[in-house]
């Protein structure tokens, strides 16, 4: 039985005993000449492709970084927008005339003009046109500067001029007027003589 199997294998061996034609290797050389092996040398196809992808990724990352980190970007603008400008001087520290002037200055400011610009441009605008921390009329700026200098030198005591809680007169708010809503009566629509069709 084993002999029979070996005979069969011999038969198969004989059937497959072919040699490639003399020009076969030359054909293969010709065919492979055009296909450069990947990774051979520096600029193999695969490596070139990887380097291209890496370079592309770096460019995209750089563009994203510039867009996101510049002052007018959404992230920076949202931080600025949430932080409202806080006046350094409170109502207690400034004279009444200065407070009124400050309020007037605020009211005189132009309201932002609504245009069709993009949100990014608008937020950039908010950053560049930043509101000053203290609103002081120009004619009183010199006096305020002297006051601040005096405070820093110790010649002026702001605490001495601060009013206490006892000085404040609390005026009760008027009671809200009752609101009456009249009953709404809906009259039925007149039906035409012929009836609904």
């Amino acid at each position: 039985m084993t002999d029979e199997r070996d005979e069969m294998l011999d038969e198969l061996r004989a059937a497959m005993n072919i040699e490639p034609s003399p020009e076969f290797e030359a054909r293969v050389r010709l065919a492979t000449r055009e296909s450069r092996p990947r990774g051979a040398g520096w600029i193999g196809h695969r490596r070139a492709w990887i380097w291209g992808a890496v370079a592309g990724g770096a460019v995209v990352a750089a563009v994203m970084a510039v867009v996101l980190l510049r002052p007018g970007s959404t992230g920076a603008a949202s931080a600025v927008a949430t932080a409202q400008p806080q006046p350094v001087a409170t109502s207690a520290t400034l004279p009444r005339s200065m407070q009124q002037a400050a309020v007037a200055t605020r009211l005189e400011r132009k309201l932002p003009v609504v245009t069709r610009r993009t949100a990014r441009a608008a937020s950039a605008d908010r950053v560049t046109r930043r509101e000053p921390d203290v609103l002081v009329p120009p004619d009183q700026a010199v006096a305020l500067a002297r006051l601040l200098k005096g405070v820093s030198d110790g010649r002026v005591m702001i605490g001495a001029t601060r009013s206490t809680d006892e000085d404040v007169t609390i005026v009760p708010l008027p009671e809200p007027a009752p609101v009456t809503v009249k009953d709404v009566r809906i009259e039925p629509l007149p039906v035409p003589a012929g009836g609904a069709s």
């Binding site: 039985m1 029979e4 199997r5 069969m8 294998l9 038969e11 198969l12 061996r13 059937a15 497959m16 005993n17 072919i18 040699e19 490639p20 034609s21 076969f24 290797e25 054909r27 293969v28 050389r29 065919a31 492979t32 296909s35 092996p37 990947r38 990774g39 051979a40 040398g41 520096w42 193999g44 196809h45 695969r46």
Partner: protein, 179 residues
């Protein structure tokens, strides 16, 4: 700078030459193997050479990871076998169509075809075709001159014991079929 560029170019050229030399040696020592493996599936010398050439071209593209001799031969055998099976599947459908037309024409006498079509040989190949793929590749590789169990195991990347059992199984099935 010029000196550096020259050295760089020199290195690249040397690397390319070395790669070409290595591939050339792989081609010379493995061309018969690839053609025979392809022939075991398609049974036509010209088609077998086309398939083997295709496998070599693919091997050339992936030569960076196939430089080791054993790895190259194992990869080449598997790739050739795979391409040959695909080729045969595609041509089986085409042959069926062509056979219908050929019945209308007078028969062409071809010495090689006549030899293959001898009864015993034809039955043997039919029996081999009917084997499962994993048994078929083992018996084909074992039948190729000079391949022992160890060689077949290395070419297929499987243990020698597995090769023995598969070869035994393949022979048994062929014997039953040829009886």
């Amino acid at each position: 700078m010029d000196g550096y560029a020259e050295r760089l170019v020199g290195r690249l050229v040397t690397a390319d030459e070395e790669t070409a030399r290595e591939f050339e040696s792989r081609l010379v020592e493995s061309s018969t193997l690839a053609v025979r493996v392809a022939y075991s599936v398609v049974r036509n010398r010209s088609d077998a050479e086309d398939i083997a050439q295709d496998a070599f071209v693919r091997a050339h593209r992936a030569f960076a990871r196939l430089r080791e001799r054993d790895r190259f031969r194992a990869w080449l055998v598997r790739m050739t076998f795979r391409i040959a099976l695909d080729w045969k599947r595609g041509h089986r459908r085409r042959d069926a169509r062509e056979d219908a037309v050929a019945r209308l024409r007078p028969p062409i006498v071809d010495a090689e075809r006549e030899l293959i079509d001898s009864d015993r040989s034809m039955r043997l190949w039919t029996a081999i075709d009917a084997l499962p793929e994993k048994l078929r590749v083992v018996i084909v590789l074992a039948a190729i001159e000079g391949h022992g169990m160890k060689d077949v195991a290395a070419l297929l990347g499987i243990p020698e014991g597995t090769v023995k059992s598969r070869l035994f199984d393949a022979k048994r099935r062929l014997q039953e079929r040829l009886r």
